[in-house]
Amino acid sequence: MSTAATINKGLFRGLNLRQKTILLISFMSLLLIAIVTSSVFIDGGSLSTDFGSKNLAPSLDHPFGTDWMGRDMFIRTLGGLGLSILIGAIASTISTLLSVILGLLSSVGKIEDSFVSWLVDLFLSIPHLLLIILISIGLGGGATGVIIGVAFTHWTSLTRVVRAEIKQLKTQDYIQISRNFGKSKWWIAVKHFMPHLFPQFILGTILMFPHAILHEASVTFLGFGLSPHEPAIGIILSESMRYLSAGYWWLAFFPGLSLLIVVLSFDMIGENLDKLMNPKKAQE
């Protein structure tokens, strides 16, 4: 899975895999941080409507063009990405917390364990998107609805990972010894499992991120997520549908492409961190 290997040429020729991987992670992180910070500092002024310059194709003044109210699409996109990353971050964090709790719960005993795996099966039994829509409707829509919806549908795979890790840890000698000393199950879970699992959680959160962002955008696009007044990418793209037949392609093209790049960056950071932590995957 060497994504780093795809940039094997030119500029990166002299570096070894480790250096390339770290460089790639740093670069991607920088890009994402830049997007988030600039979206925070966007002032309302540049987003003001200007009917004098509506529906302009991309130019130097407006690299992503303008919409039917003359708003600069680049600024709108940047704002939307910032919002997406923020929502993705909150949802992934909640989701990770859920996985931690459920993963540890499954380590407590047989009944708890089968309950957790039943819960995993249950949440996988309905298509993710439909479940997010349902939860979002149940919570009355809006940001809370999407965040909770996304958070409650993405914990399953990390929980499985945590469960498997704990199962493997349990066979280790020091856990047996701890148990023989009469330590409680929760004590072992918190003192022994947590430190070992912590890197897994960080990695799991990062790997969850891209899915969370994509699902948020999809649900918002369908009209169940953020309200139309928010500058979300899903909203921008759903608006753009009305102008497709008019040929205003930039309304859809650039915002979607930017979302793709953000998601891809998160994917690559996650994959490469994984590779640093689990060197076997780099052996190819």
């Binding site: 309905i126 149940g138 369908l222 549908m241 859809a252």
Partner: protein, 329 residues
């Protein structure tokens, strides 16, 4: 012996399914009950009505009945096979779902097949030539696809092929103004191509990456090493040992992907205005058609369950290696 084992297996699965459906019923009913949905408003839309009429409708939709009573009414009807009346289509939910699901099934099945075949072939090529330029190209393609928002890709394809090139219509599964008898096969196919393409282009990534990884794993296995030691090489070796061993897991994975397929269909149908179950889901959700929404949830759960069941059957009964583990352990 084998039949008996299969019987027990199916029996267990059916029990699981029943429990699953009960829980899904309760949970989804509870969820929509939480939401501030007004069924009367959903039914009448923007019309204004007299208070008396409103009272009759409220009575009919059970606005003032307690939740649990409503649930038992609904659940009782579900047991009898009656999912209620759709508020927006004003037809029985079962009828709407049947109609819509058939349309979606054509879309999902064709893209499922297409993505499976193309993905498998790409995965085999990439895995065989792992590390080469073509492998990197396929890998990059897959990485990008996995990160691509489904609905955005649909929009772009719509822009290119329908708006600019004009090859395909911009929406609707059948031309407006024709009854279903008048619609030709050509019309149907023409409206199916872009949605199918979108759905399968995205489905390719997962199966291709999986096939690639699995093939690489197989190519470094002891039995491939031995095959090489016996003079087998190149494409022949991959055909003889690689494809043989990757095929079952890949097919299994493809069946496990029903859930993603359904989600993808919802987005794609929305963009292409394809009148399938996905579009109905969005409409039901947005316009608070609770009976239809609950019906769709149940049907989608069944759909996903079916995919998992087939995957399990392949795993337990078709793959000869599994039988061995049972006899040795």
């Amino acid at each position: 012996m084998k039949q008996k084992k299969f019987g027990i297996f199916i029996g267990k699965k059916i029990i699981r399914l029943i429990i699953l459906l009960i829980v899904v019923c309760i949970a989804s009913f509870w969820l929509v009950e939480q939401s501030p949905i007004d069924p009367v408003r959903a039914y009448i839309g923007e019309m204004s009505i007299q208070p008396e009429q409103r009272a009759i409708l409220e009575e009919y939709w059970g606005v003032n009945t307690p939740s649990h009573e409503k649930f038992f009414n609904w659940a009782g009807n579900v047991l009898k096979g009656d999912l209620g009346i759709s508020l927006i289509y004003r037809m029985p939910v079962t009828y709407v779902i049947k109609e819509r699901f058939t349309a979606s099934l054509i879309l999902m099945a064709s893209s499922w097949l297409l993505s499976g075949i193309v993905g498998f072939i790409l995965g085999i090529i990439a895995g065989m030539k792992s590390g080469s330029l073509i492998d990197k190209a396929i890998k990059t393609y897959c990485y990008v696809l996995i990160a691509t928002p489904t609905f955005w890709l649909a929009l772009i394809l719509l822009l290119v092929f329908s708006v600019y090139l004009g090859w395909f219509p911009v929406g609707l599964s059948v031309p407006i103004g024709l009854t279903s008898e008048e619609v030709t096969l050509f019309d149907r196919v023409q409206h199916l191509i872009l949605p199918t393409l979108t759905l399968s282009v995205l489905g390719v990534a997962q199966i291709a990456m999986f096939t690639r990884e699995k093939l690489i794993e197989i190519l470094s296995s002891d039995y491939v090493l031995f095959a090489k030691a016996r003079g087998e090489k190149g494409f022949d070796l991959v055909l003889r040992h690689g494809v043989r061993n990757v095929a079952l897991p890949a097919i299994t994975l493809q069946f496990l992907g029903f859930s993603e397929l359904f989600g993808g269909a919802v987005l794609v149908e929305q963009v292409f205005s394809y009148p399938g179950i996905g579009q109905a889901t969005v409409a039901a959700g947005l316009r608070s058609d609770v009976p239809l929404l609950l019906g769709i949830v149940l049907v989608s759960a069944l759909f996903v369950f079916l995919g998992n069941l087939i995957a399990d059957i392949i795993y337990e009964f078709i793959d000869p290696r599994i039988k061995q583990q049972e006899t040795t352990t």
